[in-house]
């Protein structure tokens, strides 16, 4: 590990200033669960680490103007067990409860997970399916970005060097929301081979609006517009579900890695999209 200085700002503005001041040489650290192994492997070697743990505002989970605001520093455990999250965004709570192992959930944060943007991460699909927005703090103040645009490429995000992710906002969900998150992996602790989140607004047996989001099967988590189109305005019966699963599979751009080949991942997209939809709709 290269040497660095550890700075501990107490406000978001201070943190952003530090990043700006040492631009190119500084990096935020949240729970350190992804960053510390990277530092050890000398994949990154910043001269300054900006520890965000002393900024109380970033760890808060709160209701703000009808939407749910989760601070980037809320840990996986805190998000998974928060009554507010369970009530308003239950599939996010479920996904957070499936992240890694207890030790990872105890220190790792939602923000750190999103900023790391690793293939197979669990929180992104439910957040995308719930239409979440990233609130980014920078030298010029806050900016908001639909979460979909936050993930820009393999291990890359839309954050500039002097920006931090401050919160994630989840809008109020329509009544009659049918949602589910399913994760497929080989061992309990693994990242997902495929993770599928679905959020369906059902009115009179018809799917008024559908969001289907996938993780693990492309360089970035994404919404399957094809599957959503199949479902929207339709009665979600077996046939529709089958078509939606097929559409999701067609959109996946998976890569091969130590856990699964691209081909297998693609097949699993169909299986788990189907399972997620059925689960959400109470069809077994």
């Amino acid at each position: 590990m290269e040497d660095f200085e550890y700075l501990k700002p107490t406000t978001t503005a201070e943190a952003v200033n530090m990043l700006a001041q040492h631009s190119g040489e500084a990096r935020a650290i949240a729970g350190g669960q992804s960053l510390i192994p990277m530092l050890r492997a000398r994949l990154v070697g910043p001269a300054y680490l900006i520890g965000l743990e002393a900024i109380p505002d970033l760890a808060r989970i709160q209701a703000v103007d009808g939407s749910l605001r989760i601070g980037a520093m809320a840990t996986h455990l805190e998000v998974a067990t928060s009554a507010l999250v369970r009530q308003r965004a239950s599939i996010l709570a479920e996904a957070e409860g499936l992240v890694g192992s207890p030790a990872v959930r105890n220190l790792g944060t939602l923000g750190g997970n999103l900023c790391h943007n690793e293939v197979g991460a669990d929180p992104p699909p439910p957040l995308l399916a719930l239409g979440a927005t990233a609130v980014i703090a920078g030298p010029g103040g806050d900016r908001k970005l639909p979460l979909e645009q936050f993930f820009t490429g393999f291990l890359e995000t839309a954050l500039a060097e002097d920006e931090i992710l401050a919160y994630v906002d989840i809008p109020a969900q329509p009544p009659g929301l049918a949602s589910a998150y399913v994760k497929y992996r080989l061992r309990a602790v693994d990242r997902s081979i495929v993770g599928v989140a679905v959020a369906l607004a059902i009115e009179g047996g018809v799917c008024r609006e559908a969001k289907v989001a996938l993780g693990g099967v492309g360089p970035v988590p994404f919404r399957s517009r094809g599957a959503e189109a199949v479902l929207s305005g339709n009665h979600p019966d077996e046939r529709t579900i089958e078509q939606a699963a097929g559409a999701a599979m067609a959109e996946a751009r998976p890569m091969s890695d130590a856990h699964a080949s691209a081909d297998y991942r693609r097949k699993m997209v169909a299986v788990f999209t189907r399972r997620a939809l059925k689960h959400a709709l109470g069809m077994g």
Partner: protein, 770 residues
Amino acid sequence: MPEYKVIGRPALRVDAAEKATGKAVYTQDVKLPGLLYAKVLRSPYPHARILRVDTSVAERMPGVKAVLTIRDVPQHRTGLMLQDHYIFAKDKVRHVGDEIAAVAAVDEETAQKAVEAIEVDYEELPSVFDVEEAMREGAPVIHEDLPSYDMGPGHQYPHTMKGGTNICGLYKLRKGDVDKGFQGADYVFEDTFKVHTFYHGYIEPHACTASYDPTSGKVTVWTSTQRPFMARAYLSKTFNLPMTKVRVVGTRVGGGFGGKTRPRHERFPVALSMKTGRPVNMVMTRDEDIAAYCSPAAVVKLKMGVKADGAIVALAMDMIWDTGGYGESIHYSRGPIEALPGPYDIPNVKIDSYAVYTNKMPAYSYRGRIMPQPTFAVESALDIISERLGLDPVEVRMKNLFQEGSINAAGQALHSVGARDCLQKVAQAIGWGRAPGPNRGISVVSYHKYPPTQASSAVVRLNEDGTVQLICGAPEIGQGTQTALSMICAEELGVPLEDVSMPIYDTDHTPFEAGAIGDRITTCAGNAIRIAAADARAQALAIAANMLKVNKEDLTVEDGRILVRDAPEMWTTLPRVCAAAHTRLGGPIVGRGSYLGNDSMLEMDAETGQMGGVSRSWKYGAQAAEVEVDPQTGEVKVLKVVCAQDVGKAINPLIIEGQMDGAVLMGLGLSLWEETAFDEGKVANPNFMDYRLPTAMEGVSLEHIIVEHASPDGPFGAKGAGEQSTVPTAAVMANAIYNAVGVRIKDLPLTAEKVLSALGQQRAQSAGRI
């Protein structure tokens, strides 16, 4: 049945409390003043000539105390099994990870940076990774000097080596006439099975600290090893030091499973300490460890002929072991080769077993050693054959299994054979014969394992107060050695377990012990200890007889009291006898015992592998499982495992259950999830994220069945118990998957992906038929 006071009971482990409180000392916990830290430069190429090594920049770096290459150390070949490597690569590297240089520095990071500053020019050579390709004519030759190599101090068998090829070991077995056997068969099955490479997965990575004292010329070594005396033998040979100048001091060992049977990395801290005169520590990082230790991959070409009633009449097998770049697993070709057909009475057998170099990392022994790979093939074949003949696979096994007096493939007579007993019990426990439901499958498999060999010795000292020092070089690597051996000693002496203390080994103070391999500690060390304890007991009784003025033949020991038979009023105690021995009668009591796990293989015929005579006792077992396969994902869920082992006599059933638990999950791991993956000879998944050791969520509870067909050659009938239950698990899984969804997979591992793709082919085929 004799009444035992100590053995046969689930005594708690003597080492548990220090481990539960964190006080146990492992190699990494040994801290010495002035300690330096070592890192090693490894080849990035699988096969290349070394043109130039420049260490000058590394040497000048602050904090660096020594940089060594082949120029700085003894330049002769060495090796525990086959002397085919140098301390550092000379002229050529033969696998990714081959060691070229080592650095000692004030801390690990400085050492690592210095390693990275060493410049090497290579000329890449053509390489070969597939073991069958490596056998072919015209394959790149990895060791040009092959036929001239000598065996190492850890391997007493001669080997056939073919110069100009990559075949570094070939053993043959011929029994009966296989051609005739096949002619007389009603059905002949022939196929090829492949077993992948896997990793031992001990949680403590390899670590070693060496401290050389220039004044005395002696090096002291702490190392995470299963075989301290082999480490000493290797280091003594490698550095031209007499054994009096190499001392291996014991610590706790955080698991081994075969991966800590060969000294390998010890040579670097030793060389660096000899150079600097300071103690040097080297701890393998996990990625280094995963890329340095693995099991040998194997190809099994199998041909089996059976009668319509299921009687096996002929077996031909080509067994090909992939040793990787160096031959520390050439002994796999030796076998014992007669173990390969499984526990079946087969009149005609022909086996060729090859050890073959490839440009992958060197392979090492693995729990169960040569057994899991052929067992996967033979037991898969038996299920396939049974189905084709419309026979019940359990009955087919029962029909062919060894029984008392059967003659094995090497012509040896067998005794204390618990094979049928194990199979029957397991079949009953899993509910063999019931229909398990959709996508569920059941399978039942038999197996055996050969007798342990090699030398052990022990000293039993009685203290002045009658307590006991058990001095034995057997390392405790988690398998319960210290407890089981102390129990054997206590039983033989007639004292309670808590009166026996067995300190951790030290090659300077404990007598020779070949090490923790092949289930040999309980049997071989156990025998030595029993002999030593009996010796001490006889000495104590002689003194007691003198004190009580009776014949020593009339004395017995019970719970530390020495009683006169038929005269209950006359007695003394072991403490009194010991006190007397130390002051006025006879002198301190020291019992000694030596045992040689006699190796009839040394007399076997080179062309036929035949030995004849009576074998020492083999171990037998059976295992069954029920699985459920998800037909959409190919995922295999293990619902139940039943595990029977014929252990001869269970010295401590609690410890044996623990061995079964660990062995089965290890077997499930390497069947279903684990694989050391290679990309052009380089390990592609060297971390626990990607090398999928099972977690508690993948674990299963199992039903243990301990079967006891007492062995005449183990202590109190014991046969040993640590490795067996890993042997059959891959076959159990493959057969259960077939039983569940009808797909037969012949190359391990049985990943979800592979199962799904086989299901896809099956669907395509049946669609094609319609």
